[in-house]
Symmetry: C2
Subunit: 336 residues, 2 copies
């Protein structure tokens, strides 16, 4: 099935009546070649359907355009969005995204193997489950790596993350301004760098505003099901508080659904604030007040850092913090 021998520069050269190198030059930006021969080459190439073999080229060039995209939890719509934006940005910048899915329990060694087998010129790691150990491998083997919303690692690798400190503060302020004075926090049991950092900031700022955090409720993972679980743990003590901050939006939505089916009204009985501003948060059934994480800004900073790392002279900033802002919706009461 896969028969047809591919057409090579040699074939084109023969047809155009020039040398192999002329063909190469015709396809190399800024090579010294007369427009006349270039035209001849291009015509021949067109006729034969010739395409430069980038794999062969990368052999001589000692570099590829491949960039590994290490990603887990694609079912999280925020992550899917990031991957989408990243891959588009990479292509636009002349790179080719190479998808390396990561699952809990995978072998970090195999992952780094793949990167090296294919000689990727860089890698991007998003979501916090892939172990930091991978970063050390990348560093050792000279693979430029950028981390997105991930914990710092021992190895030197630039990171891009949204402003977790501000996010926690904004969540606390939003509850405060909604009139809340006694709050709680609902989060995942599974550790997550950004969620945990945000939680800490939230608790600190809540305390500063005089809103003591009465208790915390947990679900297993930072998704809808985790929110439902956290709500179940929360409900018996619901009367003690008037505001809740949830670890992320997915969790908040599950939390909302669960407490509502128990008869609690939002925001009358309780104000709720999430984080991420996923598309679903804006849906009428939820109308969730949340802290927005600007995916496009995160991605463009990430790409800038990677490109600087790969092509640039200077080191990119070790950490780029992307600003966040509050999106006020119906899940927090509006005080006059």
């Amino acid at each position: 099935m896969n028969g047809q021998r591919s057409v090579t520069a040699e074939d084109v050269a023969r047809l155009a009546g020039v040398s192999r190198s002329a063909v190469s030059r015709a396809f190399t930006n800024g090579a010294s070649i007369s427009s006349e021969t270039r035209d001849k080459v291009m015509a021949a190439a067109d006729r034969l359907g010739y395409r430069v073999n980038y794999l062969a080229r990368s052999l001589t060039l000692q570099r590829t355009e491949l960039v590994a995209l290490v990603v887990s939890d694609m079912d999280h719509s925020f992550r899917a969005r990031i991957v989408d934006l990243l891959s588009r940005g990479l292509v636009k910048a002349g790179y080719r995204p190479f998808l390396l899915p990561w699952s809990d329990g995978d072998d970090a060694g195999r992952l780094i193997d793949m990167m090296l087998h294919y000689n990727v010129s860089g890698a991007i790691m998003t979501s916090d489950t892939p172990p930091g150990e991978i970063a050390a491998h990348c560093a050792r083997h000279g693979v430029p790596l950028v981390l997105v919303n991930k914990a710092p690692v021992d190895a030197h690798a630039p990171r891009v993350l949204h402003d977790v400190e501000a996010a926690g503060r904004l969540a606390a302020e939003a509850l405060f301004e909604a009139g809340c004075r006694r709050v709680a926090y609902a989060g995942p049991r599974r550790p997550s760098y950004t969620i945990d950092a945000r939680r800490a900031a939230f608790l600190r700022h809540a305390a500063e505003l005089g809103m003591r955090c009465r208790f915390e409720a947990n679900g297993a993972r930072p998704n809808y099901a985790g929110g439902v679980e956290a709500a179940a743990e929360f409900l018996p003590r619901a009367g003690e508080v008037d505001g809740v901050h949830c670890g992320n939006d997915f969790l908040a939505l599950g939390f909302l659904d669960r407490i509502r089916s128990d008869g609690l009204r939002v925001p009358a009985d309780l104000s709720v604030v999430g984080c991420d501003n996923i598309a679903e948060a804006a849906w009428t059934s939820y109308d969730l007040t949340t802290v927005t994480q600007d995916a496009e800004a995160v991605v463009s900073a990430c790409l800038a850092a990677l490109i600087e790392l790969v092509e640039g002279e200077e080191e990119p900033a070790p950490t780029t913090v992307i600003p966040v802002r509050l999106v006020r919706r119906g899940s927090t009461s509006h005080r006059a």
Copy 2:
């Protein structure tokens, strides 16, 4: 930054005191080599951190493990799921997913260029916006291609799709069994192969069951916003019907939210059936009855077809239809 010269088979050979070919053989499955020399090679390779350069290898082998994943609309969570499953499946099967994002208005030529530049050994196209024209290019250049949930194309390319006929029928039956007799259809204006085919099947089966379809309402795209738009168009005539089938779940959720905020109660006033069974459909706020499309089955059929195409002797089936089934939830009334 990207300094370190990569270690080659030559280096390993020297350290192990053997020839280059011995090294190659040590890494080639089923090559004739004594376990003694293999051990020597492996030890040296380990010490140097040697990895076979697959790009160089592919030059001699005349084939790569690269598979292009042409994907658009990754913000659709169902698509993200498919991409996730596909990439994991490909990696497991020894292939490497190469992500080629597609946006409306992109140039099909550039896309095929990339595939050829990198000598991909196959391609998978999901979602129906990328033009069928790409398939013709693939065929002409001998790139094995599998289509997922896409319209048939002129070029010969195996397709995998869920059973649209059954899906339409199940939706009609679900409404009928919920007691509906006068129904409507809400869909996107933007054409979509699977959605359009499902609509046709739905209308036909509804008629057979004696439920005349009174009218159709449309939104622009098959997403939440499109559902809201369709609902706006629907509401003035809401009284004429007792059941609605929506083009897909995302659209159904927007539709639900919009009609509910107008005071309509589901399923008391109206039963609603979607299609896809996205995660959100199960959320308490929606509890949407829907036709489930088994993403895992779709993906494994797709991979099987691709692998058969690339490695196999026989042609895979031109079309693989994946069964669907109804998931009954709260958006349709239960009759005794």
